[in-house]
Point group: C2
Chain length 323, copies 2
DNA sequence: ATGAAAGCGCTAACAC
DNA sequence: GTGTTAGCGCTTTCAT
């Protein structure tokens, strides 16, 4: 690999000048530009980011910690974040972690060592670990610990889903959610569900603590349990599309007609949801906006700007054929 | 951020000694180790990877280029690769690209600049671009251009799927594949399909050039076309699970019973396949093994070892309820 | 407009 | 067993 010095020699200018044309910053003559560019081409020169990052003190890189399971939703976000970052000249380093302290800790050390400008954390409930690292941090899960968060308007989502089910004529609702004991922002979906049901006088049941990455059999067992325990059930609001798909699949396999006998609303609108049978009615999260906002905010934080806490990102009810 | 020099001063030793305990390499006294470790703790020291990479000439990092669409299968691989890499002390930098020359080119420049030890390319048909960069490269798509590839045993996969359909009593088969004109290794699935059909005297039709990331309506149009054009059709072998899911969904919506009237086999066994309705029969690719092999091979290449071209990774027929 | 030279934080001879 | 020191490839004052 040729270095900036090689280019300097070849072009007959100094490394300073080469650096200037490289970053087109500072005064350079037309002649110098041409000569240097030619030299770079001839020598197949590629600047060494490590050297640059070292002298600059940062690498225009932001770290993103994603859960190693529960990937459907986050994968959609990941691709969008990479795109958003690139548009403003940043790179993203992805790390996958289980939501436990040690794994997150390891990721954070790693990322700090890589001189990331900030960390976007989406793997479970350990923002405190990242915060302790004393580096800009943004959560995609919750703003506990006073950490800024970019999240969907889950209250709106819960309301939209529940009202839709009721409007469609459901008389007994069930909501399946993750564990409510971590004060994730997603809990708002459940709270909105409860509020709407009570407000409209619709009987309901809440099943919480079930995550989509639970083992297949466990999920199945839960769903069986729900159907057995709540025979009057005619509407389900699931906390995510995967859970919703499982419910639909189970119901269909038991001869329950959808949407005639049972209506199901999911959450996320991951891209497979539209091609399930029947296509799933769901609450669409705005991936693009979540990603762009998150990236913009963490960069602002890295630049010591005082960004205002971003507002919740609006969601949208997508009516398909399970309701 | 404190530096190695701070730690040296604080501990009363030199940077060389600090470096030694940091990498526990070279002779150091027990006393020194303790003092340095204490200093690191006190100063909340984190080594700067950039500096290290600069002096070492590499960063123990491998670059992976993934398609920005068509993500279902690759996402499963991505997480596994990260894990495999970590186990041997490497990191992965993911980049997403459209399969066109410019995008790939940009990614490669980026990755070279980041001093990756090698590149694993899985975004479409442009391995040549990476090869031109003169850096170790491994393809997950094809071994065209004489580039080493890690791929599934697609011949076996095609055979397994087709035979299974025939054994189940299908009398007229359709196969939907991607574009066969790029000599992707996945084409073997189609060739095996044709071979089996001809060998067993089963009539068949081939629909090629359709990728899963095609716009929704286009896919639907294709499927409608297939059903209209091939009324005797009673078995479909799809090139991927998403296509298979679409076929199932379409058939069901038209009142075609599965598996009674139509049997469908997918490919990949992405994790949603088991929770579709009905759960999808498919060919499972061994993600773990693909990932581990790919990572191991690219690292070997980076170390100038002459790795033997890895053998195709075995696949497995997973019989569920669409057949 | 251009160049010389000082470092960024780290590793690895080499000397002691 | 430990310290001194010369770079790794780059950016950036500060002269000229």
């Amino acid at each position: 690999m040729s270095t900036i010095e090689d280019v300097a020699k070849y072009s007959g200018f100094s490394t300073a000048t080469v650096s200037r044309v490289l970053n087109n910053k500072g005064p350079v003559s037309e002649k110098a530009v041409l000569a240097v560019q030619e030299a770079m081409r001839q020598l197949d020169y590629h600047p060494n980011n490590m050297a640059r990052a070292l002298v600059m003190g940062h690498s225009n890189t932001i770290g993103v910690i994603l859960p190693s399971h529960n990937t459907y939703f986050w994968n959609e976000v990941a691709v969008e974040m990479e795109k958003s970052a690139r548009e403003i000249g940043y790179h993203i380093v992805f790390r996958f972690a289980e939501p436990d302290r040690e794994e997150i800790d390891r990721c954070v050390s790693d990322l700090r060592a890589s001189q990331v400008s900030g960390i976007i954390q989406a793997a479970g409930q350990r923002e405190d670990v990242v915060k302790a690292a004393n580096i800009p941090i943004l959560s995609l899960i919750s703003n506990r610990d006073g950490i800024p968060a970019v999240v969907s308007d889950d209250d709106q989502g819960g309301r939209l889903a529940t009202r839709h089910l009721i409007e469609r004529g459901c008389t007994y609702l069930v909501h399946i959610s993750g564990d409510l004991s971590y004060s994730n922002h997603a809990d708002q979906r459940s709270f909105a569900f409860i509020r709407e049901c009570e407000h409209q006088g619709i009987p309901y049941r809440l099943y919480q603590g079930y995550s989509q990455q639970a083992p297949e059999e466990q999920c199945l067992a839960l769903i069986e349990h729900i159907f057995a325990e709540t025979p009057r059930l005619d509407g389900i609001f699931a906390g995510n599309d995967i859970m919703a798909a499982r419910c639909v699949s189970y119901a269909l396999s038991r001869g329950i007609r959808i949407p005639d006998q049972l209506r199901v609303v999911g959450y996320d609108d991951i891209s497979i949801s539209s091609l399930l049978y029947p296509p799933l009615t769901t609450i669409r999260q705005n991936y693009k906006m979540i990603s762009a906002t998150a990236v913009r905010t963490i960069v602002a934080m890295a630049n010591k700007e005082q960004p205002s806490e971003p507002a919740p990102i609006p969601v949208e009810l997508i009516v398909r054929q399970t309701t």
